[in-house]
């Protein structure tokens, strides 16, 4: 369930990346929260592609390296929460999301999505709240805009 949101990221990324065949198979492995976030904030397609591949490859390499170091070094560091590292990820995503929050509509949508996800947390399995927030985005996208030219 946690991985399902990556399929939704792919919808946006396939337009930016425009990859087929073997390259698509490689690119698919790199689709993740971070690479998507680094890609969608760019103004040009070229910068967006660079953001996606550089971040995707970086996360892939460092994630696996980090897992290795973590499994070896876990005995030295008693609790990562002591360093506040559990707050680092949301802070990073916030910094990546911020450039996209232009205009009142997008703000409202982001807040609504966050609220829906939080309300759902106690009632559904891990990973599902974020997908429900995705449904908010789908519904908002289905509503046609009239005359405001967004």
């Amino acid at each position: 369930m946690l991985g399902a949101r990556n399929a939704l990221y792919g919808l946006r990324l396939s337009e930016i990346l425009g990859v087929r065949g073997v390259r698509r198979a490689v690119a698919a492995q790199l689709v993740i929260d971070e690479s998507t976030a680094m890609s969608i904030g760019r103004d040009t397609d070229r910068a967006a592609r660079l953001g996606f591949y550089a971040t995707g490859a970086g996360v892939f390499a460092l994630w696996n390296l980090g897992t290795l170091i973590g499994s070896v070094g876990a005995s030295w560091l008693s609790d990562p929460r002591l360093l506040g590292l559990d707050a680092a990820a949301p802070a990073a995503f916030l910094a990546l999301l911020a450039p996209r929050l232009r205009g009142r509509e997008v703000w409202a949508l982001a807040l609504a999505a966050a609220l829906v996800a939080l309300v759902a947390v106690p009632f559904v399995p891990v990973g599902v709240p974020v997908l429900l927030a995705g449904a908010v985005g789908v519904i908002a996208g289905l509503i046609p805009r009239h005359g405001r030219g967004s």
Binding site: A28, D86, A89, L94, V130
Partner: protein, 103 residues
């Protein structure tokens, strides 16, 4: 047995990503689909931030992470560098946790 589960899980996750990238282009060019595809990363990231900050996985909670995120929000608003934002959030969370619980 565990490793079979891991392998199946990994394959499933990969196929989901591939499926997302493989949606036909002409389908994406329809206005509604285009709008949805543009909005999805925003709502998904917003939800991810909220869930990672205010939940324990099973329930909602308000703890030191909220302070970290608040500081991060200010830092982002002030357009401070990315690494500063992340470091400040972690440091704030660690400090509040230490100050409140003493651990």
């Amino acid at each position: 047995m565990v490793w079979i589960g891991v392998a199946v899980g990994a394959l499933g996750c990969y196929l989901l990503k591939l499926a997302g990238l493989s949606v036909p282009r002409h389908l994406l060019q329809r206005p509604a689909v285009h709008r949805i595809a543009a909005l999805l990363p925003v709502v998904l990231l917003a939800a991810l931030i909220a869930v990672q900050t205010f939940s324990t996985g099973k329930g909602l909670t308000l703890d030191a992470r909220a302070a970290g995120l608040a500081v991060a929000a200010v830092a982002v608003w002030r357009r401070w560098p990315f690494l500063v934002v992340v470091a400040l959030a972690a440091a704030t969370t660690a400090f509040v946790r230490w100050a409140v619980t003493g651990s």
